[in-house]
Subunit: 352 residues, 2 copies
DNA sequence: ATGAAAGCGCTAACAG
DNA sequence: CTGTTAGCGCTTTCAT
């Protein structure tokens, strides 16, 4: 004879006990709880009473196993501490939740190795879909993922994979940068530096494109030592701005590829006693919470994060529900939010 | 005869196929993959080869069902957009991940109804534990949770439930407030206002206690119209500071119960042309990213978030591994970070 | 309208 | 050292 298991003291009540309590079969319980199939009002009531009495809480993990649907989504971002991603994450979590999904949060620090590990884990845990925000250009992990799991719904926020069948929700970065530069150029600036973030990043490369485009259009030579790529951290903006602003031919304006970088620029300017906007104009990107906290308030390019996050979830949910893998791309346009950090160069530019 | 199911096109390979490919039983596969029990080097190799060949990815949901361990944790916070919680969440996610756990992120906006729903969902999804950050005082949901699932490991960050058997990682808020006030008092301030956040919140009530305590100790009458409770949002700090600063007997210093509130205070001061710190000293709480972004940089009370988050995970993991539910409370002490937003009142206080 | 039974993919006890 | 087998808690045919 088989040895008795040690009694499992788990207090958790299962569908079986509910069935017993209600004097029906477990399938009946399942039916009323899922509102599937027919059940008489009377049994329905019996079941519901038993559920209440036993304080029954169905196991979604068991259900997931049968239905192959965990009702959870993976969200892969570089870093939740970055205000841009926390804003985004909030919208995504909210919208997902309202559709009955939970979110596994994954921070990669733009580390491909880490990203790969998360992807495996998410797959193992059976997520119904994965949302990537700001992947690197030509992120091999995503390619591999799509190869191994072509059926898994994927949406990319802020990234383009023309060859892969997945959904993309993007903002026109070159247009945004172009607008930022247009504003500066219109104010009479000619010596405009560019401080980018991580160079393998869509945000960096595309905004750089817009930067060059605007300059070229006005026939202004782009100076190599005016363009810098580093990271999106405040510290990076600080260090690079400091270097830039200590040059003999320092720029009269800086286009920072993100608000966080702009924060660093402010810090550097303050340290060097360079007044913004009188002696230095600066434009950021994102229109994050930082923009209004900075003094003077930051002129920046607004990325419609909320709308983008919301759209991402809609697409994801549709893909999951309809079980069809297609490629959908939606493009958002950013726009300039003028605040106080820019100024016409003629007005008063002590440097000149 | 039973009708054949429609072929399940799921591309996912299961342990069965690996077993077939490797010519062993599924239990053998399970054994080598889990490194449990004995297996000869030879079969081990065969299995591993098959795994690689088929690109097998075990299902943790099936495993979870057997083992009653999902390797996931629920994290319930008010709002990830709040920089305090994104800092915290990052540490928690990192540490949890390094122990093999994933995090379900839940934003409640301090809404008890929402919190209750999340708790149910987390339970249904079989999380191995739940971490609550900054619950309300006497949060009934937590009480109920512990009643229904006494075996579920719970750790509370920044909250106290003396009657419940759960773990607490707290910071001594009254001490923090007391230090903030001590600093201001030492600088000669007597008219010090208090701007709190949500009144049902430990942070608010305990910091208020510290505020009163410091004042009493120096024999200073606490003025009712100098203490305000509202929310932790910037906007709330702004509105309340504005009102405060327009009074005839406006305070010479403000103790803001969080850095975000302090941000609002800066804004109000700027609008009213009140210079910080010359005409108004302000102290914040948290030492968040905001503190160094603000100009002048904010003097604030540092909460050791990283250490606290890390500790929370350690306790959680221990509780899960050892399967014993005990009450552990760890207390952290905050300390004052002096920066530029405070100043001795004698020096130059135009108001006086 | 309801119940019986067959799994979902895996782990672990047990018997070789 | 390895295979057989019995579930984990639920959903879903299919039969009644």
């Amino acid at each position: 004879m088989r040895k008795r298991f040690h009694k499992d003291v788990s207090v958790v009540v299962t569908i079986k006990e509910v069935a017993k309590e209600a004097n029906v079969s477990i399938s009946t319980v399942s039916r009323v709880l899922n509102k599937s199939g027919y059940t008489s009002e009377k049994t329905k009531e019996k079941v519901l009473n038993a559920v209440k009495k036993l304080n029954y809480q169905g196991s979604l993990v068991a259900a997931a196993m049968k239905k192959k649907q965990t009702l959870t989504l993976g969200l892969i971002i570089p870093d939740i501490k970055n205000i841009f991603y926390s804003d985004l994450t909030r919208t995504i979590e909210d919208r997902a939740n309202s559709h009955g999904f939970n979110i596994f949060l994954c921070n990669t620090d733009n580390n491909l190795q880490k990203e790969a590990e998360y992807i495996h884990l998410l797959i193992a845990k059976g997520v119904d879909g994965i949302i990537f925000s700001s992947p690197e250009v030509d992120d091999g992990n995503i390619e591999e993922l799509k190869e191994n799991y072509p059926e898994l719904p994927v949406v990319i926020l802020g990234g383009k994979f023309p060859k892969l069948i997945l959904n993309e929700v993007v903002v026109d970065n070159v247009d945004g940068a172009y607008k930022a530069m247009g504003h500066l150029l219109d104010l009479g600036h000619k010596d405009i530096a560019f401080i980018g973030g991580d160079p393998e990043t869509y945000a960096s490369v595309e905004r750089h494109k817009g930067y060059k485009m605007a300059l070229n259009e006005r026939g202004i030579q782009v100076k190599d030592d005016y363009v810098i790529f580093d990271t999106f951290y405040i510290q990076s903006g600080y260090e690079n701005a400091k270097r830039l602003l200590q040059k003999n031919d320092r720029p009269t304006a800086i286009f920072a590829v993100s608000d966080s970088i702009a924060v660093g620029v402010y810090k550097a300017a303050r340290e060097l006693n360079i007044r913004i906007p009188e002696q230095l104009s600066v434009v950021g990107f994102d229109d994050s919470q930082y923009a209004e906290i900075l003094y003077p308030m930051l002129t920046t390019i607004r990325t419609p994060i909320k709308e983008m996050g919301q759209r991402a979830i809609e697409i994801m949910v549709k893909a999951i529900k309809e079980k069809q893998i297609i490629k959908e791309t939606v493009l958002f346009y950013p726009n300039l939010i003028e605040r106080e950090s820019t100024m016409a160069i003629e007005a008063d530019h002590p440097k000149k």
